[in-house]
Symmetry: C2
Subunit: 342 residues, 2 copies
């Protein structure tokens, strides 16, 4: 049923969610790279991003790279809703499709924590890192388990989804659900027109103004025209997804907030201040929805953090693992630098 044969699954059982609902037979799919050492102190947690699977994180994992499986035990947990971990598309009735519960990033991190502690007996994590919603999960790890995480490096993501980011996502959601075939999530066939509209909206946000101005889609990606690029890079990507899965992750994104939990009761500055981990926070200089300014404010409230913008015209996309050599190398160097700090 699942096309990806190369991952493990941690059974969460009846997993209680922040909403009060229970995810029956919850499944956290993950993949590990490298070997946990005998002291169990070489673990790295590297969560996935929106529309990403564990395989999409792999370009930054490898011998000689910062995330080196020869040295570290790297755990990549799949985000709920991504079609590999519990998602609307793979959960039995009645929690499938539109019946799938809202899941927060807090819920995701609680599941990660169970995996890390119950399955692997890890008490201290060397590094949590991730791109985009993976960055948001990284911030969550730092705030929710401040004594457990030595270092964090979130790139192209924020500790709390900004209002503007929320509205950008709202536009995508409205586009997808304008398709009558969406049927409030109770469709039999995928709402293809809505998925295409979602992709087309996203195509304006993901790259930067300069990405289009400089014709990066043509020069670096080989798409002859903008229309080719929108169809080939955006529509085709999102048409591979289940619409309910996309909307489930979108909800998680819109509601991401490291302080939206009993530990901080909405006190965002307190939550940022509680992150003890040594941190490099890396926005893309040209990101349209996770702009530098939001991270700069966050870093200002973190006791042990450095702001290190990614110099790129690829916009948000620049942070995507392996998207382009220069940006990937920059991210890798920063990860290496951070891992050297004692």
């Amino acid at each position: 049923m699942n096309a990806l044969p190369d991952h493990d699954t941690f059974e969460l059982g009846n997993f209680k969610l922040q909403s009060g609902r229970t995810l029956a037979k919850g499944k956290l799919a993950y993949k590990t790279y490298g070997t946990l050492n005998s002291r169990r102190d070489n673990a790295i947690v590297y969560p996935t991003f929106y529309s990403g699977k564990h395989t999409d994180n792999e370009p930054l994992i490898g011998d000689g790279l910062a995330l080196d499986p020869q040295k570290y035990f790297i755990i990549v947990p799949n985000m709920f809703g991504n079609g590999v971990s519990s998602s609307p598309s793979n959960t039995p009735t009645p929690l499938n499709k539109a019946g799938f519960p809202n899941i927060t990033l807090y819920d995701n991190i609680m599941a990660h924590h169970r995996l890390v502690t119950e399955k692997f007996g890890i008490e201290r994590i060397e590094l949590v890192c991730g791109f985009s919603m993976g960055a948001q999960q990284t911030f969550h790890w730092g705030a929710l388990f401040p004594d457990m995480v030595a270092r964090i490096m979130p790139w192209c993501g924020s500790a709390k989804t900004s209002r503007h980011n929320f509205v950008f996502l709202e536009g995508g959601r409205a586009a997808l659900t304008a398709d009558a075939a969406w049927k409030d999530g109770r469709y039999d066939a995928q709402p293809a027109k809505g998925l295409r509209a979602f992709a087309r909206v996203y195509a304006g946000w993901g790259p930067s103004q300069a990405f289009y101005r400089e014709e990066v889609y043509r020069k670096a990606l080989g798409f002859e025209t903008i229309e080719d690029y929108i169809v080939g890079a955006w529509e085709e990507r999102f048409l591979e997804f289940d619409a309910n899965d996309l909307m489930a992750m979108l909800w998680s994104w819109q509601n991401a907030d490291i302080s939206a939990n009993p530990l901080y009761n909405g006190d965002f500055h307190k939550a940022l201040g509680a992150i003890k981990a040594r941190a490099i926070v890396m926005p893309s200089e040209t990101d349209q929805y996770f702009p530098v300014a939001d991270n700069a404010i966050e870093v200002g409230h973190m006791p042990n953090a450095e702001l290190l913008p990614l110099p790129t015209i690829w916009g948000h996309l620049g942070g995507g693992p392996g998207r382009n050599p220069d940006d990937t190398a920059f991210i890798n160097r920063a990860l290496k630098q951070l891992l050297l700090v004692n």
Copy 2:
């Protein structure tokens, strides 16, 4: 039939379009303010913006303002497709609805030129100015009739729609047309769900990140929540429009290019270089789709132009006439300054 009683109409007859098609009984609706002097040398042309009508331009017209009807004869031509000049919603069969022809900004300016010369006998225009698509029409005036226009001030608009801007609009179009009620433009009732989706997409683009971060929608506009703002300021605005009219103007916008005509044959730099008018080009510092960078490039190819960014966190919206007192005052001062130059 038309709710606005306060404008005149210039009959264009069988108006030949750039596409080769003919707009039968073409109508250019316009309003004038002030009196044309005997030398016919005190005219200002001030075209409308996307989703705007002549009345929406009025906050910058008034006694003591730069655009002073005591001194100038101000002509505000309504853009084709805006529901006042010839538009899908007001043109007889078979050119109504989806049968309406594509109209370029070049076509718009040719119609303005006929109005200005045939109706008023004006040979020299003191100033052409406008916001957004009005700015794009302003650039067109400068390039298409360089010997006729003394000054131009385009704000929050470009001489050519950038690729990124094109893609942003493509997202809005996909959202609107994902609604089955759109029926390829052959609807009887307006596609309300599609119009709402279009509005929701637009809500992410029109203001800036900082506009939302600083809660300007609440502090300055009185909307308690983001949802209130999206519904009250965006959905309600676009639900007043005919969907075909919006899509007709969107096509004009996507294809705006001062060099896409026999004068310049696509040589954009040549067209910019031909603009003799003394120019102030004013991008909003926080505009997401008409960014400063695009105007800076354009000004670099104009022989007589100054780049003067509008310092605002209102994003593109900051340029909207009367949207907020500070930005409107800044625009007014620049217009005054430009009109003083001999």
